[in-house]
Point group: C2
Chain length 358, copies 2
Amino acid sequence: MQPDHPSSGIDRRAVVSTLALLPALCATLLPASAQAQMAQGGQLPSWNEGAAKQAILDFVRTTVDRSSPSYVAPDERIAVFDQDGTLWVEHPMYTQVIYCLERVPAVVAKKPELKDVEPFKTVLSGNREAMARLSLRELEQILAATLTGMSTEEFRAEARKWLETARNPRWNRPYTELAYQPMLEVLQYMRDNGYKTYIVTGGGQDFVRVYAEKVYGIPPEQVVGTAGGTKFGYGNDGRPFLMKEPKLLLNDDKAGKPEGIHLMIGRKPTAAFGNSAGDREMLEWIGAGAGARLKMLLLHDDDKREYAYGPAQGLPDTKVGTFPQALYDEAKKNGWYVISMKNDWKRIFAFEREARAE
Amino acid sequence: MQPDHPSSGIDRRAVVSTLALLPALCATLLPASAQAQMAQGGQLPSWNEGAAKQAILDFVRTTVDRSSPSYVAPDERIAVFDQDGTLWVEHPMYTQVIYCLERVPAVVAKKPELKDVEPFKTVLSGNREAMARLSLRELEQILAATLTGMSTEEFRAEARKWLETARNPRWNRPYTELAYQPMLEVLQYMRDNGYKTYIVTGGGQDFVRVYAEKVYGIPPEQVVGTAGGTKFGYGNDGRPFLMKEPKLLLNDDKAGKPEGIHLMIGRKPTAAFGNSAGDREMLEWIGAGAGARLKMLLLHDDDKREYAYGPAQGLPDTKVGTFPQALYDEAKKNGWYVISMKNDWKRIFAFEREARAE
């Protein structure tokens, strides 16, 4: 499942020989955190040994080693991660879409005139087959009704409350527990080595910001996502607030991802992780730059522990997470790594580990 | 020039008495950087003693002291600073507008058909009086022609080159040396105490990002400004790049400032510095929140060392930096501090200090 990556073996050999020749020098030059990790061993414990794990370790080690030609100054260490399907489960439906659908009754309670109006009527019926047939335009109407028309504080409070109580039916766990443990380890490993980690998601920026710090250790200001406008105004009590408006500022998907990174971060990251055609332009753009670059795509090929969909490598095509064969071929051609969930990951979720320990 | 601030004296007394009662405890609880600074004394050396300096010191000390009721967790320590007229000179014309005017000959060299077209013709004439009469619409045409229609990399290279060679005529110094030394000290003091410092400017985000790290120690991702869209595409060599488009995404002025902060930072800062009516909504919004808040406005009342304009307190009204009397009155009413450049600042620029040492 791994594309051949011509530079991988060479980089490793270069690092190994450098370390062999100059152990004292390297110990001085490497940051304390990196030294501690090397001594400790066992980085990325939920990853199987293989080209994907090695690529991450090699990239980080060579970019934090001052004696390496690939050295990157701490300020420039920026890594970006798609969220849905890359950091947590996206199948069979994006969590935010589930949130919006489940918010419809509350919206209709406040605006009873919507009760008999489509698409709200279909959502209220609970008929999942009919809901699956909703058009993109109808879905947008639902998103607008449930994500806008309230203050930023109201939205945050509502989303937080839902996240605390909602459960994913397959695992019977809060959605926030469906983050991929191997990716949480990558986030932490990169931060331990001075990387600033960002989420760059097609999902709603305000939604992801509600839980990103708790789930991923990523603060709100490091979440780039699809963003709507807000409107400053004063409440009846004269208190200023921001109202969420149904006005799209940034569609953070496909070409919108590099555009969003430029808008929100203002410089090019050197590492990017994605899992679908929506991440293609981001990986291409990040790849077009001098110095070391890490570009990785996660292939969902594990129908036992999670899901298998694609349709790269003959996996079934589905509505979410389109990883077409053409993207797989582009990855192979350009030296991007494809992570096989089935082969590269020892475990998928943190709670699996707990289960084993029980 | 200082508004009475009812809580200032109380906060100070509370801190002083806490320190007197619990010196050992406080030493343990305060961050090492804060301890070092308190031992060192002489914070904000370019500030005269007074209510403004004391307000900054009190705010920082009480929000980093774990035993204080105003304690703020490190993650939430976010301070925002307007740029033009708050961090550096804005009079008689914004530096970015000077950049755009001075770029016109290069633009016309590439597009000779603009030579005899207004407003380019007037700018090329060098007639400063005629240029001062350009309408807002004409100015926008010049901004669009000089800030868009090129790749983000080309723009960065051009702006960097200009900043290295252009000189402010009054001081005969690069514009980047016209940052206010007292404000550079505030930025550093707040960062030393765990505050993340952001610029929130009506100026162009891409322009300010070119020099913000060098001049202010503020990285590109912590610059929020007026932002245009970019468009992802591929060059003739197949290399992906972003083209700067003449499409306004965020007008980061007045109500656009809190809206821009929500878009780019995603949470409410607790400290804000500005100098004009363009900062009013930002200060109001930041003031509307629980816990300690620091809101400060810089009054340009020093026509000898810099400029005096306002028209608060009877200073002359000018095209840039409108600080109306109504804003001054709102500041007094709401406990915002007004910094008097004339009375609160020992020196304005870093090079003044060099001059004394010579």
